[in-house]
């Protein structure tokens, strides 16, 4: 780094350039984070704080009949997203990397779902998962002679299917990242392995996979962070049902805030979510920092 010196005019200019952006960050992200903590400790009438109540709102949130469901569902979402959402892009990335024809088409094709607005995909998939014989997937199954399935209506399937729809949307974009990573692998490694008698599967297993491992680690945490905030998918597709089988912690927060207008309890839930995210982010920072060095 530069030699240490006192605050110069150049530094001032640098900070001045940042000021408008800093204000925006403060307005949209930093201040609301702090404000949420304050709000969570009070009762409120509409948005006005009324009375300091300590941790009462946290107690109320945790005692809500839906809290345990939302809490455990969130981990179930994470579990399935690791099982499905995490592996699929790696596989797709490797598959496409191994082809030479239509590569442009494959890249564009798998990325396409990612440019679709998430609300649009949520709506489309809720039509796909319609039970009964007029649901889209059931129509397709019917052509194969398979009986209609219950899809989202089966409480055991709700979360995995929501994850499938999310994976459909995001896997292609992630696969492209893996592809970039794979194409940067030193070709000599493969050639050396070939000379040692390694077949294609062994080369994939011992060269390609270890090479994407570092990237996969960081993407994994990013994924956990994003799945932790899952909201519109269950909200539109199942409204959290059946019988809370898919309600997420963010959805619970949204209900408190915008259905019951109970902003303090909503804020308390937000604060809890943020605490978890801070922990996860710390982990992420640690991993990326380790990679940088």
């Amino acid at each position: 780094m530069k030699t240490k010196s006192k605050f110069r005019k150049k530094d001032l200019a640098g900070w001045l350039v940042m000021v408008p952006s800093l204000i925006l960050f403060a307005f949209y992200i930093w201040q609301p984070l702090i404000e949420n903590i304050r709000l969570s400790l009070y009762t409120a009438k509409r948005y006005e704080l009324v009375e300091f109540v300590g941790l009462d709102n946290y107690v109320r949130a945790v005692n809500s009949p839906d809290f345990m469901a939302a809490f455990s569902n969130t981990f179930e979402y994470i579990f399935w997203s690791l099982l499905i959402g995490f592996l699929v892009p790696i596989i797709v990335g490797i598959l496409i990397s191994e082809t030479v024809h239509f590569k442009g088409l494959f890249r564009v094709g798998v990325y396409f779902p990612n440019i679709m607005p998430s609300l649009a995909t949520v709506w489309i998939w809720s039509f796909f998962f319609t039970p009964g014989d007029t649901g889209v997937l059931n129509i397709l199954l019917g052509k194969l002679g398979i009986e209609p399935l219950m899809w989202l209506t089966d409480p055991d399937m709700t979360i995995p299917l929501i994850i499938v729809s999310m994976t459909w949307k995001s896997a292609g974009a992630t696969a492209l990242i893996y592809m970039a990573n794979i194409s940067s692998i030193n070709a000599d490694l493969y050639e050396a392995a070939t000379i040692d008698g390694a077949g294609i599967w062994q080369r994939t297993r011992y060269i390609t996979l270890p090479s994407v491992f570092g990237l996969a680690k960081t993407l994994l945490i990013l994924q956990v962070i994003s799945v932790f905030q899952i909201l519109q998918e269950p909200m539109v597709m199942t409204n959290g049902g059946p019988n809370n089988a898919s309600i997420s912690i963010m959805m619970l927060m949204y209900r408190y805030a915008f259905r019951d207008f109970n902003f303090p309890v909503a804020a308390a839930i937000s604060v809890m979510i943020c605490l978890v995210l801070v922990l996860l982010s710390g982990l992420y920072m640690k991993l990326t920092a380790a990679k940088d060095e």
Binding site: A26, W30, R38, R60, G132, R259, F261
Partner: protein
């Protein structure tokens, strides 16, 4: 690394705390400057006007702008034309008032944000479940004085007035109309299933057991679902409470001292839930996915012939017909079936409410609009014309014209209305006979007291469980719902 993180974190907390301080200080002053909406500044003083019969006669009044959240939605072109007629009428008598269309459909999750931002239309329709919540949050205007001056206060039927008042008897809304739930029938499907009498009237079910059996016949004969049952959102619990009453259940007990006792796990309530469960697993007469059906899709199912029966109210007859294309003559409405506990019809209604930011002058102008719209207790030439225009428009759009439930007690307004309905009636009243007979016979019942929406939410969860799991333990689920609901009631 660790140290750097820690330092960053500490520093950020410090900075943020400072920022937070600044922002909220700055914010408060900004609020004061910014809160009132532009047009309100003009008329800060409770205007001089007498509660006038003809407010327009007073010269040189301050300009007033009224935003009409009760404007029809974009797709209802003919309805809009009718309302444009009202605005034109008012332009003559109220030259100082600008009536601005602002179609607003009450949505729970954006209402409070709109209140905060001062963007609630001057007048809007809420649901009958909402007034108490909105009154408690001080999100709507107190219109007691305006109503008193007009003499409307005593014209509202007392049961409904209570739903629109706070603990001190201040009134916050004007009833649009009242409704009672009934059972809507798709006559095409009943005919196809052979369930009609010699005159062609559907053989409607009189008991819930009867309903299940008829539904089976319909499903066998037509392939369509017998009944569309809701289980997606709170409307599921809402409909269920009416079924539960028929089985003799009372779901919530008002202890009279401001506390309530949840009663969801009574044998009657459990029997009602068992009945619903049997509709799915024993009779198998429901639409494919009740957990995906809500108020709107239910009407679609009925209107498009995907289901033959659906719980619906007299004020929603436009939904299957105008909105979903069911021919006028193919809709029938019968009484909610009876059960071992008797026959009950859940009664409620739709209130007009007013933005908390509305000035008295704006409220007056909005009430004048209701007069011209024919939704007031006043019988004047304009109000009759409005009522007629409204009904004529319904007739033109294939909406059945049937009596609404009286929300006003004045006999002259009821007579005027009856006459117009007689004149414009476009349906065979036989298709609605049992519904009106039943609702006149008593059995009308308002919603359960005490955090009703939370109760519906709990019931809906049980509905979802029993409709998706054949082995669900109904009693245990109701027990859980009962204790959840009681916990919420205790925390009130």
């Amino acid at each position: 690394m660790k140290k750097r993180l820690l330092v960053t974190l500490l520093a950020s907390v410090m900075i943020l705390t400072n920022l937070a301080g600044c922002a909220s200080d700055g914010g408060d002053t900004a609020t004061n400057e910014d809160e009132p909406v532009v047009e309100e500044r003009a008329v800060e003083e409770p205007a001089v006007e007498e509660p006038a019969e003809e407010p327009a006669e007073e010269p040189a009044e301050e300009p007033v702008t009224v935003t009409l959240g009760i404007w029809p939605e974009d797709t209802l072109v003919e309805d809009i034309a009718v309302h444009e007629g009202f605005v034109a009428t008012l332009a003559e008598t109220h030259p100082n008032v600008t009536y601005e269309p602002a179609y607003y459909r009450y949505a729970v999750d954006t209402f409070m944000p709109m209140v905060e931002s001062g963007n609630v239309p001057t007048i809007f329709e809420a649901w009958f479940t909402e007034p108490q919540k909105l009154i408690k949050q001080e999100a709507v205007a107190d219109i007691t004085d305006q109503l008193a001056a007009r003499g409307w206060l005593d014209a509202i039927s007392p049961a409904i007035k209570e739903l629109l008042s706070d603990a001190n008897g201040r009134v916050y809304g004007v009833p649009r109309d009242a409704y009672a739930l009934g059972l809507m029938l798709n006559v095409e499907l009943f005919t196809e299933a052979g369930l009609v009498d010699d005159a062609g009237y559907p053989l409607y079910p009189t008991t819930w057991e009867d309903l299940a059996e008829k539904a089976v016949i319909i499903k066998e004969q037509t392939g369509a679902a017998g009944l569309c049952l809701l289980a997606k959102d709170n409307s599921g619990g809402w409909h269920f409470s009416n079924i539960a009453w028929a089985f003799g259940a009372t779901l919530c007990v008002d202890n009279g001292d401001g506390t309530f006792t949840s009663n969801l796990a009574s044998p009657e309530a459990i029997a009602a839930m068992e009945y619903v469960k049997s509709l799915k697993w024993e009779y198998d007469v429901l639409t494919a996915d009740p957990t995906n059906e809500d108020w709107g899709t239910g009407f679609t199912a009925l209107g498009t012939g995907a289901a033959a029966m659906y719980i619906g109210a007299n004020d929603a007859v436009n939904q299957p017909t105008q909105v979903n294309g069911l021919p006028l003559e193919s809709l029938a409405l019968c009484a909610i079936p009876a059960g071992p506990g008797g026959q009950f019809s859940l009664m409620g209604g739709t209130p007009y409410m007013f933005s908390k930011d509305a000035t008295p002058a704006e409220i007056e102008a909005a009430l004048d609009y209701l007069v011209v719209f024919g939704k007031s207790p006043e019988v004047t030439e304009a109000s009759i014309a409005g009522m007629r225009a409204d009904n004529q428009n319904k007739a033109d759009n294939g909406v059945p014209i049937i009596p609404r439930f009286a929300c006003w007690v004045g006999q002259d307004i009821l007579d005027a209305e009856a006459q117009i309905i007689e004149e414009l009636g476009n349906v065979d009243t036989g298709m609605y006979q049992s519904y009106f007979d039943a609702t006149k016979a008593g059995g009308l019942r308002t919603e359960e007291p005490g955090l009703t929406q939370d109760m519906y939410a709990e019931l809906t969860k049980v509905l979802q469980a029993v409709l998706t799991d054949e082995d669900a333990d109904t009693a245990a689920l109701m027990e859980t719902a009962n204790s959840n609901y009681q916990a919420l009631l205790d925390a009130m």
